[in-house]
């Protein structure tokens, strides 16, 4: 939504936000501001676990979960589960990009395609896709395919809608110029519309990535034979509570790392836009 930007900034920039300070003190502040939620969670967790308000069974101390992580690391079960989940997330995200971006470009630029696809897309976008998961298991079986399908369903629509919107708003003069200089229609789509829509596509991709992570993990939690979500479901059933907390830490780490990676990719791909300077 286009809103008038305030003439005077309402707040001054954060202390050491976005640009690391040269001084050591600035760097420490910057790091402290950025990482304090993790430290806070650890501190509260430690205090509550030792306060006696909850049993070590419902809330194991951070130390116990750490020991469980070391155990899982040595036996290889933790790495196996993490790898399986990570591969599924990346697979469904790649599939969502491969379908969402071309289809979005077509929907944005080719009117018959947009007209035919719009009612289907606007039906599926707001629906809770997880409700279809049991049907996906019936269709694709218990293995990786049904998890990737779930992650794909969650990741596709943010990417598709962002691409469609951006492709339909490309400055017409750029397209006329390219057409006037003899660029073919597919050429215009690839060399004019795609770069112009790239900032919005990458924003959609960031939202889609969280969708892929959530979709795959939830799928593994509901019905699966392996992966991090399955580790958590088994931990719940066998009352191995330390495993459950470990899984939350692992999937959070995956989510955080992939999100940072996509932000770094975005900054690199958009060096040429004014947006990259922010």
């Amino acid at each position: 939504m286009a809103r008038p930007t305030p003439t005077i900034p309402a707040t001054t920039p954060a202390p050491g936000a976005s640009t690391p300070r040269a001084s050591v003190g600035g760097a420490v502040t910057w790091l402290a501001v950025r990482t304090y939620p993790v430290l806070l969670v650890l501190a509260v967790w430690q205090v509550v676990a030792h306060s006696g308000a909850v049993t070590a069974f419902t809330l194991p101390a951070p130390r116990q979960v750490w020991d469980q992580a070391v155990l899982g690391w040595r036996s290889g079960t933790l790495i196996d589960a993490t790898t399986i989940t990570l591969v599924r997330i990346l697979g469904s995200f790649a599939l969502a990009l491969a379908v969402g971006v071309p289809l979005g470009l077509l929907m944005g630029r080719v009117r018959p395609v947009r007209r035919m696809a719009r009612p289907i897309v606007s039906f599926f976008f707001p629906t809770p896709k997880v409700a279809i998961y049991p049907a996906l298991v019936i269709l694709f079986g218990l293995g990786t395919a049904s998890k990737v399908a779930m992650g794909f369903a969650e990741a596709l629509f943010p990417i598709l809608l962002a691409t469609t919107a951006a492709a339909s708003q490309v400055e017409p003069r750029m397209i006329w110029s390219a057409a006037g200089l003899g660029t073919s229609r597919p050429g215009i789509l690839l060399r004019i519309v795609l770069p112009a829509a790239l900032p919005a596509i990458l924003t959609g991709a960031r939202i889609g990535l969280v969708g892929a992570i959530t979709g795959v993990f939830v799928a593994e939690l509901i019905v699966a034979a392996d992966g991090l979500g399955h580790t958590m479901a088994i931990g719940y059933r066998t009352l191995a509570t330390a495993d459950m907390y470990l899984t939350v830490v692992a999937i959070s780490a995956i989510g955080f790392t992939l999100d940072r990676l996509i932000l770094a990719t975005r900054a690199r791909l958009l060096r040429w836009t004014p947006e990259a300077e922010r």
Binding site: F124, I222, Y236
Partner: protein
């Protein structure tokens, strides 16, 4: 026949053609999808036992709707959703507004949002069950967690973009700080808040369904999973289709409701 008549006929033909393109193309898209769903199992492209044809699922959806057990579960799910959603609105909107007006709150909350954004909130469902028991509370909390981030962020962005002069004027005319927040900042930030609420509706239904599919105690999700366990695939597809349609209708009703209720708002939400 004179010339003007002919051009009038041409204009009429063009209008009919435009109407046909506007209505027929979307209808053709939907029809192609449903036809593929109908024919794929009938032609043996997929096993009819795992994917029943559309007509079968459509008929089954009527049976599900008439099932008193399903109706009872809908009530329970809707109540849990409404409780969680109301709580998230009550916490999220004021928090987002205060974040935009107070630098301290903003610096305290922003890193938490950045860090928790890529974490799948539904991963916490079973942990919440561990902490709060299998009852209503764990599922309400998961709905709150799921919709908090979109609501807080959109309220914050909306309030952050409010013209400072509006606030100064209100303050200069003697409005209290709290009064300014709710009588100046909130109305100005409303379009952004409403888009956040729309996102939150989708995310929260997802979280509730995921929770019900996992906890399998009660609710529409549990109903769905019972029939999955029984291997009744028409019932599974029909229930899933009904839940999907409900999500779509809720979103559409929200958009229409906002457009009708707040006609002074310009633009999309």
């Amino acid at each position: 026949m004179t010339r003007p008549d002919r051009s009038a006929i041409r204009a009429a033909i063009r209008a009919v053609a435009a109407l046909a393109a506007g209505v027929a193309a979307p209808a053709a898209g939907v029809a192609a999808l449903l036809l593929a769903w109908e024919l794929a199992p009938r032609l043996g492209l997929v096993r009819a036992a795992s994917v029943p044809p559309f007509s079968r699922v459509f008929a089954e959806a009527g049976t599900v709707l008439a099932d008193p057990a399903f109706r009872a579960e809908v009530g329970g799910s809707a109540l849990r959703w409404a409780l969680g959603f109301a709580a998230a609105l009550g916490i999220g909107v004021p928090l987002g507004l205060v974040m935009a007006r107070s630098r301290f709150v903003r610096h305290a909350v922003e890193p938490v949002l950045t860090m928790s954004y890529p974490v799948p909130k539904v991963a916490l469902i079973l942990i919440l069950v561990l902490l709060f028991g299998i009852g209503t509370l764990a599922r309400v909390i998961i709905v709150v967690l799921a919709c908090l981030i979109p609501i807080v962020i959109s309220s914050f962005h909306g309030a952050d973009a409010v013209e400072p002069r509006l606030i100064w004027s209100a303050r200069g005319l003697g409005t209290s700080r709290l009064g300014t927040l709710f009588r100046v900042v909130l109305p100005a930030a409303l379009p952004s808040v409403l888009s956040g609420v729309r996102l939150a509706i989708g995310v929260s239904i997802f979280a509730l369904m995921a929770a019900e599919l996992m906890i399998r105690q009660s609710g529409v999700g549990a109903y769905l999973f019972t029939y999955y366990d029984l291997g009744d695939s028409p019932r599974v597809w029909a229930t899933a289709a009904l839940i999907a349609t409900a999500g779509f209708l809720l979103d559409a009703a929200y958009v229409r409701g906002v457009k009708f209720g707040l006609r002074w708002l310009a633009g999309e939400i």
